[in-house]
């Protein structure tokens, strides 16, 4: 009888057990701050800029996915992959992206990684939540060939005397690009030193100028194939590290 009661008690306790997410002051925060620039200025929609080939253009829609934020210490192998880190940047709503993650184990990290686009594990279904909810963000998802548009840039570019529309929609697993910054990178002024209760900020600039390299002004609709691959290689060169601060 006592055994039975004990068993029942254990059963109930076990079934009601919850991981109580008590605030843990022993962990810290990381912020990846991305500033979008073009022609050396803060990017804005509907402003005139020039491509490296000196063609005037303006942008009416600019969106892209950032994902898979990771921190590493390449000396001791300490590694953190921030779970569920998928962010959709929309120039119509923001000019700077602060990508935050809390519960980071304190310590010294000398490498940070993030990706432009969606990894192949998560790329092929629209039945997901948050930034990947394809019912909310249907303009960033090809539902007939299931996959996300990693990078979308639309606008007008001057072609002779008149403006022509351009549409760049880049996706597909091959065009998923991972950025790596570490102590060998330009702009690395200090290691990322996460302190308990503190916040470390990594500042990165995305320079849109790089996007147009090798893109002919005659190719105004790029959605797949080798032109899309060229453009993906270009957006992989957009991010530049501008500094790190630890607080």
């Amino acid at each position: 009888m006592k055994k039975l009661l004990l068993f029942l008690f254990v059963l109930i306790v076990f079934s009601c057990h919850k991981n109580s997410p008590a605030p843990n002051p022993t962990e810290g925060n990381i912020v990846l701050k991305i500033t979008n620039k073009v022609n050396g200025k803060i990017f804005a929609l509907n402003q005139k800029y020039v491509t490296p080939a000196n063609d005037t253009f303006y942008v009416t829609n600019y969106k892209y996915y950032i994902s898979n934020l990771q921190l590493m210490n390449i000396d001791n192998g300490k590694y953190i992959a921030v779970p569920n880190s998928y962010y959709l940047f929309n120039a119509a709503e923001q000019s700077i992206i602060p990508l935050g993650a809390s519960n980071i184990s304190p310590g010294d990290y000398n490498e940070i990684l993030f990706s432009i686009g969606i990894d192949d594990v998560r790329n092929h279904t629209g039945a997901q939540t948050g930034a990947l909810d394809a019912t909310l963000h249907s303009d960033m998802f090809w539902s007939w060939n299931a996959g996300y548009k990693f990078f979308v840039l639309e606008g007008q570019i001057r072609n002779g005397n008149r403006y022509s529309p351009f549409v760049f929609h880049i996706g597909s697993d091959d065009n998923f690009k991972t950025e790596t910054f570490n102590s060998f990178s330009k702009g690395w002024n200090t290691d990322i030193n996460i302190q308990a209760g503190g916040t470390s900020e990594v500042d990165v600039t995305f320079n849109l100028d790089s996007l147009f390299k090798g893109i002919s002004p005659d190719s105004l609709n790029i959605m797949s194939g080798s032109q899309a691959a060229t453009m993906a290689n270009n957006y992989a060169t957009m991010p530049q590290l501008t500094g790190i601060s630890n607080q």
Partner: protein, 335 residues
């Protein structure tokens, strides 16, 4: 006290171990997905028949996936909410719990994403989820049902999951052929002959009780295709998805269940009778560099079939009609 505790304990065990009724026929392989919540499927059924899901408020999923036609329709191409034609023939919705790829070209790999595609496509239902949410939120029955099933307000994700849950219940496995497999009845001599012919000549692609290999084939319907440069031309078939020229003109092998109800046939609905389909395979297969090698032999292209063979095959294929499946799903208010 002791008995009360024991009774409670037994109740707990029985309740937690209650066996769910098998939701698929015993002679079928294990499905890749199973239904977990019948309430969710009931809500999905309501949504499947809901015209608010279309841009013109007139089309529901069931407008083109008509239950009495085994969830297909009678047209080569269906007419969408904007009056445009679909680019491919509406497929029958059957045994989707076993399916791996959706659409004729396999561009989608889960039911939920297929639903997003059909709802938002300008050629199909031509509606946005933002607009659907507004329309459904104005109906108390939906507010209540979503609250009941998900404990939440109406969201796009809940909508697609509910419809997918309903689609998992569209299991057809009680045709005369199934009864035969379960030794509950027998086939006529002509049907027996057709079954043997089918096993020799058709089952390599229309495999097993599901009648599909879940693969993609170019069955020689055409000999001329668009070039790969036209990367999103639907006539590229599977190659439109893979961007691989070796997939030009390939389409997913459809199930043949309820074949009698699902005319017209092929990805573009070009054939109106089963006999025309058989004639294509016996004497109409076009030979191109893209035609599946299964159809290319030393002396001939296609599958050798006499007129008697075709009679027997047509007769055998009638046994795949599942009247219970049609009756059970004839409308949303009957369970």
């Amino acid at each position: 006290m002791k008995y009360l505790i024991i009774a409670l304990f037994i109740f707990l065990i029985v309740f937690s171990c209650k066996q769910k009724k098998e939701s698929f026929p015993s002679h079928f392989p294990l499905p890749s997905r199973t239904l977990t919540n019948e309430k969710e499927a009931e809500l999905g059924k309501l949504l499947f028949f809901e015209p608010s899901l279309s841009g013109n408020g007139k089309l529901s999923c069931a407008s083109c996936h008509i239950p009495s036609r085994a969830f297909s329709d009678t047209l080569s191409f269906s007419i969408g909410a904007k009056g445009e034609l679909t680019s491919r023939n509406t497929p029958s919705l059957v045994n989707l719990a076993w399916a791996k790829d959706f659409f004729w070209d396999g561009g989608v790999h889960d039911l939920e994403t297929q639903i997003i595609a059909s709802v938002t496509s300008a050629r199909e239902m031509n509606e946005s989820f933002a607009s659907i949410l507004k329309k459904l939120n104005s109906k108390k029955i939906y507010q209540d049902k979503f609250r009941e099933v998900y404990g939440d307000s109406i969201t796009g994700q809940h909508i697609i999951h509910a419809i997918a849950a309903f689609e998992l219940t569209l299991v057809s496995g009680s045709s005369a052929y199934d009864e035969y497999l379960l030794n509950k009845n027998s086939l006529t001599p002509l049907q027996e002959k057709g079954k043997l012919l089918f096993e020799q000549k058709c089952a390599i692609c229309h495999t097993g009780v599901l009648f599909t290999d879940n693969k993609f084939h170019n069955t020689g319907l055409d000999s001329i295709f668009p070039p790969m440069q036209q990367f999103d031309n639907p006539l590229l078939g599977r190659a439109r998805i893979t961007q691989n020229a070796s997939d030009i003109g390939k389409y997913r092998t459809p199930s043949l269940r309820n074949l009698n109800l699902t005319a017209p046939y092929m990805h573009d609905g070009r054939f109106t009778t089963i006999r025309q389909v058989l004639s294509h395979y016996s004497s109409g297969v076009n030979k191109s560099i893209y035609t599946d090698s299964l159809f290319i032999h030393n002396k001939r292209t296609g599958i050798a079939l006499t007129e008697e063979d075709k009679n027997a095959l047509v007769d055998f294929l009638q046994t795949l009609t599942d009247s219970t499946f049609i009756k059970d799903n004839s409308s949303f208010n009957k369970k």
